[in-house]
Symmetry: C2
Subunit: 151 residues, 2 copies
């Protein structure tokens, strides 16, 4: 039995995956740096606040948050810990399931999100959106939505 060779990184399919990987790494790093420098906020923080801002009652259960953010449960716990320490989010215990907790966006959190948005949107445009022709942008989204559908 002959040894299987190492798959070439130039193979078109594999290359597509790796391009995806690297494009993400590069853009994320850049955005993270800018958001941290100008707004003292991480990308994950921003995403969480944004999701809460557009959820019913500006709140979501911990596990929903974890799932939505593609984060582990403990990751969600600690993220909320930090944001709660900054009073951007508060925990509200759930009355229909005593194990549960709501993460609720405070007014301060909403303000913080609003304040950080211009910086972040500018970064997303500069490092990502503006490098992609409009026609390709929609295709990209629909392609990746397919990937995102839960297995």
């Amino acid at each position: 039995m002959k040894p299987s060779p190492v798959p070439s990184p130039r193979d078109p399919r594999l290359k597509a995956w790796r391009t995806f990987l690297y494009a993400h790494a590069q853009v994320r790093r850049q955005l993270e740096r800018e958001l941290q420098a100008e707004q003292s906020m991480g990308l994950a923080d921003y995403e969480l606040l944004l999701i809460l801002a557009y959820s019913d009652g500006r709140r979501l259960r911990m596990s929903e948050l974890a799932d939505t953010l593609a984060l582990s449960r403990s990751g969600a716990t600690r993220l909320i810990d930090r944001l709660e320490a900054d009073a951007l989010v508060e925990r509200v215990s759930c009355d229909t399931d005593r194990r549960g907790q709501w993460a609720h966006l405070t007014d301060g959190g909403y303000e913080r999100l609003r304040a950080a948005s211009p910086t972040h949107l500018r970064g997303i445009a500069a490092h990502f959106l503006d490098r992609i022709p409009a026609s390709e942008l929609h295709a990209l989204r629909s392609t990746l939505e397919r990937v995102l559908e839960r297995a």
Copy 2:
């Protein structure tokens, strides 16, 4: 001056970015877990070994590695530290620039890469490639290559 509202996560352009973000998080998490469980190896390790395997002389300068992997310099240093500890890579000092180091893939490292490849390729296919029609795959790649071009 009226307060600017928080940008809607449903805005098409923003949504494209966020889909990209989440698709990556989800797929990466899954692949990382599988590779760790079945091959005791992280995604970053695999990528590094792969890149070295297809580099001239199976070696690359530390900074080239960092740039290629979209990693910080210190990140590259520590990654190589770990792989060197497992004898998958060795450091070779550069004779034309005494500050420099080559990261050189050992035979053991190549074997390790080869051994891990089936698992990883299967994962990439299952969680990413196979969810994308062939026609869209090429488009995805060329779109993201544009993003990846250095600024």
